[in-house]
């Protein structure tokens, strides 16, 4: 069988059809410094210009052989569209993502999402970037993502208000999360209308190093189910941090695949989920591609361990950190191709 294109490979993964080899792709940012440099951009410039955003994403994937193009890279578009001022760190030479230094809403009572939020700039810029990526790189699947309501709440309110509120003001917490879920649904649907081939729901800050499994079931899971039900497939649910205690609940939210980070014990997750669930992640985005001291051989071994751990795709457990070691990054993708020729738990091979 001839080699599949990136788009074919990823589409087959989500249809649970055999593939030629394991894909290297992500549902989170995959922009890399070498691509930004070659395009003559500066890191802070790429976040609010749909052409630069799309081109930086496309070239990052082309330079290193990824199987997808993902936009956007930063997590502040919604908060900015609501009215918060963001820091873009225009003068910094370091890799600093935009942040929200001060949030205008001081309590849950203040939360009032504008009815036209999904059409406001800079959110609308994401749709433009998706369209550009689709047009300029048709051989790649284009991934989009949305922060889940709890994680997004931390972008529009001080997170401790919400965390303490879980016990003291539960009705208000639930109402806040519902408003943010509506926003998440609307923006995700527009990303899909713009052509996103798959979408990731990133409810990053709800692992059990932060919330109890009981709180997850009670407060988070109902919103995950509602959001995922409103989006078309393929859709992925990602949570950072400790997830072994909630992995079965994550798999009971309507996602087509589950994504975890390095704190997840893959063997334990596989045992709980069985062989048929698409499981991605658990790849250390700092240690393998970025850490100065990590050799190419160590990076290769790291990816082999990741594949042997039982994932169905080599999928970074977080945004790829842009300042990679090029040799390590290339070796990681190459190892995915060669070592990933054997079947994975949920996927056969052509």
């Amino acid at each position: 069988m001839s080699e599949l294109s990136a788009k074919e490979r990823v589409e087959r993964v989500f249809r649970r059809e055999p593939v030629d080899t394991m894909p290297f792709f992500s549902g989170m940012g995959m922009v890399l410094r070498p691509a930004i440099k070659e395009l003559g951009y500066k890191f802070p410039q790429v976040h609010r210009d749909p052409e630069k955003l799309a081109r930086a994403a496309i070239l990052s994937s082309k330079m290193f052989g990824f199987d997808s193009v993902v936009v956007p890279f930063d997590m502040t578009c919604e908060s900015q569209a609501i009215g918060n001022t963001i820091s873009i760190y225009e003068d910094s030479e370091d890799t600093l993502y935009p942040t929200i230094p001060e949030k205008m809403w001081k309590s849950m009572d203040d939360v009032n999402i504008p009815s036209d939020i999904a059409d406001r700039w800079p959110i609308s810029m994401i749709y433009e970037a998706i369209k550009i990526a689709k047009k300029e790189a048709p051989e790649y699947p284009v991934g989009a993502w949305q922060l889940g309501p709890f994680t997004q709440a931390g972008q529009v309110l001080e997170l401790d208000i919400l965390l303490k509120g879980i016990f003291k003001q539960k009705a208000q917490v639930e109402a806040t999360l519902d408003k943010l879920s509506d926003m998440c649904i609307a923006i995700g649907q527009k990303c899909q209308e713009a052509g996103a081939d798959y979408i990731t729901l990133r409810e990053m800050g709800t692992g059990t190093d932060l919330l109890s499994p009981r709180t997850w079931k009670d407060v988070i899971q109902p919103r995950m189910r509602r959001i995922l039900a409103a989006w078309k497939s393929p859709k992925i649910l990602h949570i950072c941090g400790a997830t072994n205690l909630i992995i079965e609940m994550m798999n009971d939210c309507g996602a087509d695949a589950i994504s975890v980070d390095i704190k997840n014990n893959l063997a334990e997750s596989r045992e709980k989920l069985g062989q048929n669930t698409l499981l991605f992640g658990n790849f250390d985005v700092f240690a393998l591609p970025c850490k100065e001291e990590t050799t190419v051989e160590e990076a290769i071994q790291g990816i082999k361990t990741n594949i042997d751990g039982g994932v169905d795709a080599v999928w970074p457990g977080c945004d790829l950190w842009p300042d990679i070691k090029e040799a390590n990054m290339k070796a990681i993708v190459e190892t995915t191709r060669t070592y990933g020729k054997k079947p994975s738990p949920a996927l056969g091979r052509l």
Partner: protein
């Protein structure tokens, strides 16, 4: 008049069960009845926080519970601390603390700050999104023994390495603590830090162990 043991128990239970009013009442009564404030802080409030750390380690408490326990602890500390003579802690130590530039997350940082507050350190809190040079300047200005930095994202963690280098070049004796989700023991070693905590909860757990050691030290 309540006995000392009764008041200590109230302070401890109030922290564990995040009962701010119970803690305030017990702290005020302890002052009114003439008990030693530092003893009430260490064997009441801090002892309660040690229990909270155990509950966190056993997955019985999570960060929301710990934050509420921290509020209860501060409710007592605000009443008791002003009555502790400055030299009574025997420490007279200072720490510079902040979340690194690019990072606006500060829950972990604030929990670690609490640990230093309990221990009676002078805390120079730079807040969040702190430019790298500011840590160095503040350490030099205050001659603090410890600099504690937190980063929640890999993308900002690398800034810590630069700060450590700048500080250690100027003053190799400063102890550096790192914290945050992407920070592992390997990273801390690699960057030349003296201690680390990988999450807000873990920071509490580590911090509470330090409080425990401090309590033992003060009993000697």
């Amino acid at each position: 008049m309540a006995t000392k043991a009764e008041l200590l128990e109230k302070l401890k239970t109030g922290v564990v069960e995040y009962q701010e009013d119970m803690v305030k009442e017990a702290a005020q009564q302890a002052l009114d009845d003439g008990y030693v404030p530092l003893e009430m802080i260490m064997d009441g409030l801090a002892a309660g926080m040690e229990v909270v750390g155990d509950l966190y380690d056993r997955n019985e408490y999570f960060v929301p519970e710990v934050l509420m326990c921290a509020d209860a602890l501060y409710a007592g500390l605000d009443i008791l601390r002003p009555h502790v003579p400055k030299d009574e802690t025997g420490l007279n130590a200072q720490v510079v603390i902040g979340s690194i530039q690019g990072d606006v997350h500060d829950i972990g940082k604030n929990l670690v700050k609490m640990m230093f507050d309990v221990a009676g350190w002078e805390v120079h809190d730079l807040g969040r999104d702190v430019p790298l040079e500011k840590f160095v300047e503040e350490q030099m200005r205050t001659d603090s023994e410890v600099v504690a930095m937190s980063a929640m994202m890999t993308t900002t963690m690398l800034g810590m390495k630069k700060v450590i280098k700048m500080i250690k070049e100027k003053n190799p004796n400063v102890a550096i603590m790192l914290g945050g989700a992407p920070v592992t023991k390997d990273v801390a070693n690699l960057f030349g830090a003296d201690g680390y905590a990988e999450s807000a909860g873990n920071a509490v757990s580590e911090g509470i162990k330090m409080i425990g050691r401090l309590r033992e030290y003060q009993k000697k």
